[in-house]
Symmetry: C2
């Protein structure tokens, strides 16, 4: 059974969208990645840090989904990372209202020994030095290292970010971030520049417009399922990454053709994430629902033109 | 052999993009639609109007591609419709610099008798009263009527537009126009509202983000081919419509599954149109190039997840 190491935040989120607002609820990249990855037949472990204020039920929720939590440090007298944000009406942009790093400011990730030979490592959005520190602990070279990041690190820690980007096989990044990282407007040209920075595979996420997977001259385009409404985009990118990495860990096949499927699984799981606030939809998501939506994705994209 | 009636402008365009500018070159909706439709095994006729200043070589260009021009009125002492526009850097928006209607101001379309029983009618972007007048002349009910329009008519002739929309099977419209027409931000909800206005099929064009085809609860998403650069978007929407209508006329199969293929053909042909100024790329496009790009579209979108 493929092993997957997930690194990322476990957090409290407070979210405002045009549809309503929440108090502090469960959030964080590792949380969303873990919930998505739990849909695959793999052995996954989360590496993260929380404070003593993090409810046991949140931890139980993940361990009940077979996510190993031995790599989650609990700082009894510390407070958990807290993020608060407000989405604009078009749901494509948001303002960060509050960021309290708390325990995250002193996070030294420790990969449990049993997972230092994992086939797949999913580096969720975090300081690039933390992401690098995880790679340093791997005792065997992973088959696939996937990195998610965001513009915040391009603004504040670009050199560190470029150092970790060099070491990964796949980067997932959104369209505006790809443009910022490369100074190129065309995503095709941006992907080529990112290849040169290290990653052989570049996934560019375009929100409601889907996601592109590039590998040199090969390209795959997975649309997003058209939805009546996006209720809360929080965690959609992490959920995509968790679906992608989970599928890759389950199959162990790093061909471009198989990676297309990983993108489709990521998009499918992300399409659920946005239907409710925070993790609410993902926590109760059944495998039969996932199967049905994969069928919808097939109908959405597959066509039958015979070419000689 | 399926007959197709094409209604639209034949025009002079002067275009400015970040890559350069042109003098008056060949343009117009019927021109781009005709060039795209010429790639199918159909009997197509253009219904349009030009002035005495319209070069014979432009007319020859279309008739050499087997477009019947008996429905093109030539006003010897009149001038041809002229449009001039400038694209912004992102190529997603443009300013109209000049519009000279000239002969178009007095256009009374006449469908040649031999085409009044056409299976497919493609109503290119024009005043909705002109579009309606064409439908009035059809002696047998067409299998499929496709309408393209734009925001200009929503602003200036909404009632006339709604009257012709009632009479068509398929509408092609861009995302911002769908939002304007319905007052709905969600394209899924907008498509439902447009269904209620008449068209059973709604195609929403999203430029570089592809196109959506809706038929009640069925939806199909054709991505645009990711391109290094879009050189000139002029005519891309018309080319899409021409590929769509041409394929439908050739196959005569109005099922949703077959209409997916029509969307793919439309997207494929449009991906060529934007590579050069005006009609330049379309005039010399070879069928082998189209076949190769269809293969690229398959690789771009098709995946192999087996579902039980």
């Amino acid at each position: 059974m493929g092993k997957l190491v997930i690194v990322g935040t476990m957090a409290f989120d407070a979210i405002e969208t045009p549809f309503g607002k929440t108090d502090k609820i469960l959030g964080g990249a590792a949380t969303f990645i873990g919930l998505a990855a739990s849909h695959f037949d793999i052995d996954a472990a989360a590496v993260s840090i929380v404070g003593g204020d993090f409810p046991q039920e949140y931890l139980d929720l993940l361990s009940n989904k077979n996510i190993d939590l031995s790599g989650v440090e609990i700082v009894k007298d510390g407070k958990t990372f807290f993020w608060s944000g407000r989405y604009h009406n078009d749901m494509n942009s948001r303002d960060t209202l509050i960021t309290e790093l708390n325990t995250l400011a002193h996070f030294n990730p420790v990969v449990p020994e049993a997972y230092q030979d994992a086939e797949v490592v999913m580096l969720g959005n975090l300081h690039p030095i933390v992401q690098s520190a995880v790679l340093d602990q791997m005792q065997t070279k992973p088959k696939l290292v996937v990195l998610d990041t965001m513009n915040f690190w391009m603004d504040s820690a670009l050199d560190d970010l470029l150092n970790v980007i060099k070491r990964v096989d796949v980067i997932t990044i959104n369209d505006e971030e790809a443009r910022q990282l490369t100074g190129e407007y065309s995503l095709v040209v941006a992907a080529k520049k990112i290849h040169k920075m290290g990653p052989k595979y570049v996934v560019i996420k375009k929100g409601e417009h889907g996601a592109l997977l590039f590998n040199n001259d090969q390209v795959f385009y997975a649309p997003a399922l058209p939805l009546k409404e996006v209720f809360d985009p929080t965690g959609a990118g992490d959920t995509f990454a968790g679906g992608f990495a989970g599928y890759m860990a389950q199959t162990g096949d790093t061909s471009f053709e198989n990676m297309k499927n990983a993108v489709i699984f990521g998009s499918t799981l992300a399409s659920f994430c946005v239907e409710k606030f925070g993790t609410e939809r993902m926590v109760n998501l059944q495998s039969e629902e996932v199967r049905k939506r994969l069928l919808q994705f097939k109908q959405l994209t597959q066509f039958e033109i015979e070419l000689s």
